[in-house]
């Protein structure tokens, strides 16, 4: 589904991503790990249209998507979450999740008016049931996002991305800042979403227990380049990975 070949991103003289090849197939959960500054987020920014690669191609369902705007990519089914959650002042949790939904679904005016007249909102009810409840956000749905904890804000960001029902989900450190029990339930949710939507997931994560329990395949990056690709079980014994992470000769 997603096929990135030779992706290179430079910032001035720094090569953030160096000729990276990544393939993610439908229904697969792939982890992208590596030390800080390895270029993981830069790579995701490049797939979602925030950065232009200096070199290389990104194919999504056979179409070259380099140069498309984030808006066009969202409509093509590429969804993402962010490492740092942006600050929004006057939108509530439900507003933000509805926003995600609205990016790929039409909300016909007639339905909006009918819902308003009946005093209920079928879209909101559905989103509440399928996303806010499983993510533990149902009680906060009318709260402004600023009032939530960091962990909850990340969950809102995930709910927003999922509401668009993406076919490729790019998650940038989804469990950072969450407690270990919250992390485990989030990992379970990611698997459940994958099973339900059949979507591909590319996950940046540092916590290896999450990676091991969730992912089908692991790609390790260091200094912009891929140094390992394989099963989660094999990562920790790979000599190159051990050298980069642990400093072994």
């Amino acid at each position: 589904m997603l096929e990135a070949t030779g992706v290179t991103i430079r910032f001035g003289g720094v090569v953030a991503v160096d000729a990276l090849d990544v393939i993610v197939r439908a229904g697969e959960i792939v982890a992208l790990i590596g030390p800080n500054g390895a270029g993981k987020t830069s790579f995701i920014n490049c797939i979602t249209g925030a950065y232009l690669p200096d070199d290389g191609q990104v194919y999504w369902k056979g179409e070259n998507v380099v140069g498309l705007t984030p808006n066009a990519l969202t409509r093509r089914g590429i969804g993402r979450t962010f490492q740092n959650v942006a600050s929004l002042h006057d939108l509530t949790v439900l507003d933000i999740v509805k926003l995600g939904y609205g990016l790929r679904h039409s909300m016909p005016l007639r339905a909006v008016v009918l819902n308003a007249l009946r005093g209920r909102d079928s879209v909101a009810d559905e989103l509440n049931e399928t996303l806010l409840h499983p993510l533990g956000l149902a009680d906060f749905r009318h709260a402004p996002i600023q009032s939530l904890s960091y962990g909850h804000r990340k969950a809102v960001d995930l709910a927003r991305a999922l509401a668009a029902q993406p076919q490729l989900l790019l998650l940038d450190e989804p469990v950072a800042g969450l407690s270990s029990s919250e992390s485990r339930s989030l990992a379970a949710l990611i698997r459940k979403v994958r099973d339900r939507l059949g979507c591909a997931v590319l996950l940046i994560e540092h916590k290896m227990d999450i990676v091991n329990s969730t992912c089908d395949r692991v790609i390790v990056m260091a200094a912009g380049a891929k140094i390992f690709e394989g099963l989660p079980a094999d990562v920790q014994v790979d000599p190159e990975v051990r050298r980069v992470y642990l400093g072994e000769p």
Binding site: N71, L88, L99, G102
Partner: protein, 304 residues
């Protein structure tokens, strides 16, 4: 009873102010630009309606057409004039909107001339009496139409998907861009809706006061209104618009006659002029002194 009569007329005018001010707030929220050309949109909308009725179309169709034309004009202004200035400082962009105002006034002057034009009757003559208050159909329709539109617009902004995208763009345009909102289209849309609302307001004002180039001055009234309402608050703009309309009506109908009576009795001053036109700006200064964030405004906080 006279007070109520004044209040009703004030509310009718005030609701038109609200309509015009909503447009200014909309653009300010989306792009941080205070649009000085709003007055020109008001004037242009009225001239468009006038020109279309001259072609022989019925008033209702003329109003619809002129509103659509204004929506196009708004989007065109954004695309042609403001988009190329995307990276310029906000102050420079505001100066450009001032330029747009002057340009459109000049165009209107060239096309329709400097004289007051008799505006076609959109609503029937006459008045109805409600609880002893006489309201002409003009005021009644203008007032109720604009208040309905303002409320419908607030509902649109609050409940629809596009409204949500508008709010998200207004709130944090970089975040909006990142999550896949076409922010530049949203800004065009804001301009287009803003110009349509202003044009409609212009048409309604012209049915009350007649049509001339002076209609563009009403754009200046929008600034006291939005400062009073708190610059970023749409409901604030509506409430402040109504408030200002009523205050103007009272100034014109009660304060000025009383003041003039007093002055004539004790001094040689005969008239104080159109005090109601000064009032908005006096109020503006007062609000800025006492409550700079406006009635509904949100005081921005700085991280230290």
């Amino acid at each position: 009873m006279y007070t109520l009569q004044l209040a009703t007329a004030g509310l009718a005018i005030g609701s038109v102010y609200a309509l015009i001010a909503i447009g200014v707030v909309l653009i300010y929220k989306c792009s941080g630009v205070v649009n000085f050309a709003q007055g020109a949109f008001v004037m242009l909308g009225a001239y468009f309606t006038y020109a279309i009725t001259r072609l022989g179309l019925t008033p209702v169709i003329a109003v619809v057409f002129s509103t659509v034309l204004m929506a196009i004009a708004g989007a065109a202004t954004e695309r042609l004039v403001l988009r190329p200035m995307l990276k310029a400082p906000v102050v420079a962009i505001m100066m450009v909107t001032l330029g747009v105002l002057i340009f459109l006034r000049a165009v209107a002057l060239a096309v329709w001339g400097p004289d007051q034009i008799a505006f076609p009757k959109l609503f029937p003559d006459g008045a109805i009496e409600i609880f002893g208050i006489f309201i002409t159909y003009n005021y009644l329709t203008a007032g109720s139409l604009s208040i309905c539109l303002a409320l419908a617009f607030l509902a649109f902004y609050r409940f629809t998907a596009i409204g949500l995208m508008q709010r998200c763009t207004a709130d944090n345009s970089r975040a909006a861009l990142a999550i896949g909102i076409h922010t530049s289209n949203q800004i065009s849309l804001a301009w287009s809706m803003s110009a349509a609302l202003a044009g409609l307001g212009g048409t309604l004002l012209a049915t009350l006061n007649g049509l001339s180039l002076g209609l563009s001055d009403i754009g200046l009234i929008a600034f006291p209104v939005i400062v009073l309402g708190g610059l970023t608050s749409l409901p604030g703009a509506v409430v402040a618009g109504l408030l200002l309309g009523v205050l103007q009506a009272f100034t014109d109908g009660l304060v000025t006659p009383m003041l003039e009576g007093f002055l004539r009795a004790y001094t040689t001053i005969y008239s104080v002029g159109a005090l109601q036109q000064v009032l908005p700006y006096a109020l503006l200064i007062l609000v800025l002194l006492v409550r700079p964030q406006g009635i509904f405004g949100w005081r921005g906080s700085e991280r230290l």
